[in-house]
């Protein structure tokens, strides 16, 4: 068992535990913290598959960005935090059975298939190759992402913008 194997198994276990906490913990903040762990485990898997840029991007965008936004959203209001977060036991019945069945089925598929040897390349320059891909065949998608980002930005801001106008009108009418 080489060091890499050890690391991958570690990431796997960490990811499993953390994602289980995300799914099952009744406190949403703990779920968010566990989500950090899951994302870090995924970043570890990326790194062990030779995708260093992706791992760092996962850290920067996901952990440094998305999680911060999620935490803000959670903390923005106490009621989100205090509200009952999981469905009652009754309602968890069917999803549980479903998930277990799905997982068993997929694992069966996983074990019964011969996937072949994985080549983890000793990538010297992932960044350059990603850059070439982004300026090459994915150029259009890259620009498209810019547009999506723009619209996402404007949409999110417009939705989240505090609306003083509404308050004023309400005050005026009542």
């Amino acid at each position: 068992m080489s060091f890499l194997d050890f690391f991958v198994v570690f990431c796997f276990l960490g990811g499993v535990v953390c994602s289980a906490v995300v799914a099952l913990h009744p406190n949403i903040l703990y779920a968010a913290v566990a989500l950090i762990g899951s994302l870090l485990a995924v970043a570890g898997v990326y790194a062990s598959l030779g995708a260093d840029f992706l791992a760092a991007a996962q850290l920067i965008i996901y952990v440094g960005g998305v999680i911060v936004v999620i935490l803000f959203a959670v903390m923005m209001s106490e009621s989100i935090y205090k509200r009952r977060f999981l469905d009652g036991v009754k309602k968890m019945f069917l999803p549980t059975i479903l998930s277990i069945a799905l997982m068993l089925g997929m694992f069966k598929l996983l074990v019964s298939t011969n996937w072949g040897e994985l080549r983890i390349p000793n990538y010297e320059n992932t960044t350059i190759r990603i850059g070439q891909a982004l300026t090459g065949p994915y150029a259009l998608i890259f620009e498209y992402v810019a547009i999506v980002l723009l619209f996402g930005l404007i949409g999110a801001i417009v939705v989240a913008r505090p609306n003083i106008l509404k308050k004023d009108q309400d005050g005026g009418n009542s």
Partner: protein, 381 residues
């Protein structure tokens, strides 16, 4: 070449067949335990001394000569001090948060090139790695603030997170402009590109006017990233008691304090590496110094060069750290709205402008620096 490889190359002095990860852990131990944490501690002492000098006081002078062991005393005090947590505190996150901050700040040292051979990990994505690890700090602050269930903490934590994430953008763009000029993301290669008229040019800060401006953008953004004055709003002691770490005491507070200084040092080191030429000096190339000393048949030149490089590098970094401390006693704290205005309305547009300018410069002058151009003109004349 990373420090771990460097260590494993010294196989004359160590037994053979040691697995490689031992070296890499040894490298980590050397850099973090042997450098970052002590320096972080010493910085507290230096800061107090500097503050005292600015205010014409004496400062710590009891423990050891000139009070130099003060940091040691402080450390022991923190280590042994009772560590209370409020009864409402969420203990798991309360303990996790300082760790997260520390991990982010210390982990980033892996990509700091102290010399050509002393770097934790010569990653291909060095700069990006630093950014990634530094972004963990905001999480730590936010979670720490939340878990202590204190109004001041939460307010400070929110401010801190908003501030840190905001200033990540100008910071990133400033780093991006360096990537444009150097065409590299590996720290070692970036520093190598700044040798005196060697492989490229001079320090990148003097490469072109845009980078010169972006250095200051970087510096301001880094100050805000470390929550240093004038951007210490998250812990603004006159408004928020002590901000996000109000409820932290003992070693947990110690970790926050350590992380803050580690962050300052880390950003100073990055600035020294990517803008100020790392271990390179003008007019001389350290790598060409050969004293010819040897020990047990092996040339000691690499070792001596490395020492020189580390000294030069740390000298540059410490100048920046000194400026950071200097600013603390010079500038008043910003208001929140000024903070955000500065980031979104000044730094980011300026940084973008400089990025475009730097790109155009690289494009038009084929990557030559100002100094190369001038010397080329003089040579032609």
């Amino acid at each position: 070449m990373s420090l771990a490889e460097f260590l494993s190359g010294l196989n004359d002095f160590i037994p053979p067949n040691v697995p490689f990860f031992v070296f890499s852990i040894a490298a980590a131990v050397i850099v973090i335990l042997g450098f970052a944490m002590p320096i972080g501690g010493i910085c507290t002492y230096i800061e107090r001394k500097v503050a005292a000098d600015f205010q014409e006081r004496i400062g710590p002078n009891r423990v050891g000569p000139f009070g130099i062991l003060q940091f040691f005393a402080d450390g022991i005090k923190m280590f042994l001090k009772e560590d209370t947590a409020t009864k409402n505190a969420d203990m798991f996150i309360y303990n996790l948060a300082p760790g997260l901050v520390t991990a982010g700040a210390l982990g980033a040292f892996a990509a700091i090139p102290f010399s050509k051979y002393v770097i934790g990990a010569d990653l291909d994505i060095g700069i990006f790695y630093v950014m990634a690890l530094a972004s963990l700090v905001s999480l730590g602050i936010l979670l720490g603030a939340w878990s202590s269930e204190n109004k001041w903490s939460l307010l400070g934590g929110m401010r801190g997170a908003a501030q840190i994430v905001s200033y990540e953008i100008p910071l990133g763009i400033a780093l991006l402009s360096v990537v444009v000029v150097s065409g590299q993301m590996s720290m070692i290669k970036i520093v190598d590109g700044q040798a005196w008229l060697g492989s490229g040019s001079f320090w990148y800060i003097f490469h072109n006017p845009f980078l010169f401006l972006n250095f200051f953008v970087y510096f301001v953004a880094a100050l805000a990233e470390c929550n240093r004055t004038p951007f210490d709003l998250p812990e603004a002691e006159s408004e928020l008691v002590s901000g996000f770490n109000t409820e932290f005491s003992g070693m947990r507070f110690g970790l926050y304090a350590l992380a803050e200084f580690a962050d300052v040092i880390m950003f100073a080191c990055v600035a020294a590496a990517i803008f100020l030429g790392g271990w390179h000096l003008p007019f001389v190339n350290i790598e060409n110094i050969h004293l010819g000393w040897s020990l047990a048949g092996k040339s000691l030149d690499p070792l001596i060069q490395t020492l020189f490089m580390i000294l030069i590098f740390l000298g540059k970094a410490s100048v920046i750290v000194f400026v950071v401390m200097w600013l603390r006693w010079t500038l008043p704290r910003l208001r929140v709205d000024q903070l955000m205005d500065l980031c979104w309305k000044y730094l980011i547009p300026i940084a973008f402008f400089n990025l475009v300018g730097a790109s155009l410069w690289v494009w038009i002058f084929k990557g030559q620096s100002m100094i190369e151009l001038i010397s080329g003109m003089m040579g032609a004349g």
